[in-house]
């Protein structure tokens, strides 16, 4: 879209079609998309990890780190 002759452009709200759909529409769409990703793929977790040096806390701290990696796929 937008590769053709500017004389042939279609317009939406006074803006060239390619610009309207990519920038004016694209921006909220991307925001909503990212919201969806955060909402469904990111986990909430505690960040303080005081017990990590403790023998008892080991399993738990591993769990945090594994989770944090999941959050980073995006």
């Amino acid at each position: 879209m937008g590769d053709g002759d500017p004389e042939q452009y279609a317009y939406v709200f006074g803006m060239p079609e390619w610009f309207f759909y990519s920038c004016i529409v694209g921006y909220p769409v991307i925001t909503i998309l990212l919201w969806g990703i955060v909402r469904f793929f990111f986990k909430e977790m505690p960040l303080d990890d005081e017990v990590s040096d403790d023998e008892l806390g080991t399993a738990e701290s591993e769990q945090h780190i594994a989770d944090s990696n999941k959050g980073n796929i995006a």
Partner: protein, 494 residues
């Protein structure tokens, strides 16, 4: 009352507000121990919520170029440049997403307050720490200077007051509130500055569309000037594809290499704050970028014959806005400049006090020194550095102006891979980090000066690749990191 005086009122009000915030932050930071004070002064006690986190990432990222330089280019290249600028929308998302909670967790575990702390904990190497601190000092000083100069010139162009008045006004403000209030003052003023930036771009965009007789008229006028202004590739294909792609790398990956932005990712309160910031940040930065650049592009329809793109925004403001609103707008770029400078100032101060002084003179134990002395020293060092930059900006030395050309690319070359691979690659070690930093900086400067033909690709692309290769080779040449570091960063698993 003269027009120039009316213009300055919103600016002064806004600067006064920044002071008030600093004093409030000073009161809030009531911690008594030396360590506690530093935690508060340099990272705000890791208490940022989502909104403030988003705003401070945006504010430290957007600078004078987002308000003057970028729209100025859009003025010349039309809608194609607006389109290109929009790739900055996911910036906050990427920064927070890639570094992730892992970064925040490890920063807490290792008690890191700066990127240098993080690198020290990961690489256990004085050479890496000193090299990074020096790079940070040099590049930040140059970048702050450039921001000061840009701000003062803009102020001069819009208000008509001499260069030095603008410089004194916001230079002193930013130095004072940063020195007095520390990190907390910096991030809260960042949030206020972010809001002001949003207001500023809306004001100017509406004024432009209004003056042009509506969107449709503006676009038609642009088409009449040059049909290329409304195509995605710009007049005479001025915005080629490789350039667009390399900007993606610059923005997408590169921002992770900017210590003033990355450091924010250590300071949020909890994972909820981070999630919120990813959304709020995307929403707001997209809005600012879209409005500012679209203003530049459409401004061409109003004032078609300016000799340079950089004049576009100042000229449009003077042409279209009443003195009061011009003042409101000018607060926007000033806010962007100040919010970049304040973060840098604090990090330079942190580099001197924490990374060098406390670590080497006090062997890393801040409690050897009374809390009051640490407080006084932190405040003094922030103020002194700020004043040095301020005085340099009165008569800018050529050397610093020249270094600034390399500042952002240079910072990326230094910090990007050591942070990223340090966080995610177990084999990464000090040898690799050193190699990456040296090769990265040298190749970036060489490529920037020699300008070999690369088909429109920005110098940061080959630099990033060279630095990556150097890192990998260096890491395999050097010894694997010791078990303690692995245990600290990756839990007990080997």
């Amino acid at each position: 009352m003269s027009d120039a005086l009316i213009t300055i009122i919103p600016v002064v009000l806004y600067l006064a507000l920044s002071f008030a915030v600093a004093l409030w932050a000073r009161k809030k930071a009531s911690s008594k121990s030396s360590q506690g004070f530093m935690e508060d002064y340099f990272i705000g006690g890791r208490s940022m919520g989502g909104f403030v986190l988003a705003m401070t990432i945006i504010a430290s990222y957007t600078s004078a170029s987002s308000f003057v330089g970028g729209p100025g280019v859009a003025y010349r290249y039309g809608l194609s440049w607006v389109f290109l600028a929009m790739i900055q929308v996911p910036t906050t998302f990427l920064t927070l997403g890639v570094l992730g909670k892992r970064f925040a967790i490890i920063a807490r575990k290792t008690n890191s307050m700066t990127i240098t702390d993080f690198l020290r904990a990961r690489y256990k190497s004085d050479a890496v720490v000193i090299l990074c601190s020096v790079a940070l000092l040099v590049f930040f000083m140059a970048a702050m200077l450039a921001q000061f100069i840009g701000g003062a010139r803009l102020f001069q162009a819009v208000t008509g007051y001499p260069y030095i008045v603008g410089l004194v006004l916001f230079g002193i403000t930013v130095v004072l509130y940063t020195a007095v209030g520390g990190f907390r003052a910096v991030v809260i003023t960042d949030a206020i500055q972010g809001i002001i930036m949003v207001v500023a771009v809306v004001v100017i965009l509406l004024a432009i569309i209004n003056a042009g007789g509506g969107m449709e008229q503006c676009i038609t006028a642009l088409k009449d000037i040059d049909p290329g202004l409304i195509t995605p590739t710009g007049p005479k294909n001025a915005v080629p594809q490789p350039f667009t792609m390399s900007l993606w790398i610059l923005v997408g990956l590169g921002i992770l290499g900017l210590p003033q932005t990355t450091q924010r990712c250590m300071g949020y309160k909890n994972s909820r704050a981070m999630h919120d910031a990813m959304i709020i940040g995307t929403l707001i930065i997209g809005f600012i970028i879209l409005c500012a650049h679209l203003s530049g592009a459409l401004g061409r329809a109003i004032l078609p014959d300016l000799p340079a793109g950089d004049l576009a925004m100042p000229s449009l403001i003077m042409e279209l806005l009443s003195p009061f609103w011009a003042g409101v707008f000018i607060a926007g770029p000033l806010a962007a400049i100040m919010s970049t400078v304040d973060s840098m100032l604090l990090l330079v101060s942190a580099a001197i006090i924490k990374d060098l002084y406390v670590h080497y003179r006090l062997k890393g134990d801040a409690s050897l020194m009374p809390s009051v002395s640490i407080q006084r020293m932190s405040l003094m060092s922030t103020a002194v550095i700020g004043l040095i930059v301020f005085f340099a900006a009165i008569q800018p030395p050529d050397l610093l102006v020249w270094i600034n050309l390399f500042a952002f690319g240079g910072l990326e070359a230094v910090f990007l891979w050591p942070i990223l691979l340090g966080l995610y690659w177990k084999r990464a070690n000090a040898t690799g980090a050193m190699a990456s930093i040296l090769f990265g900086v040298v190749s970036f400067i060489t490529i920037s000066i020699m300008k070999p033909a690369m088909g429109g690709v920005h110098a940061i692309v080959p630099t990033t690749l060279i630095a990556l290769c150097a890192f990998v080779v260096g890491s395999y040449v050097g010894r694997a990191p010791n078990d303690k570091v692995i245990a600290l960063f990756w839990g007990e698993q080997r």
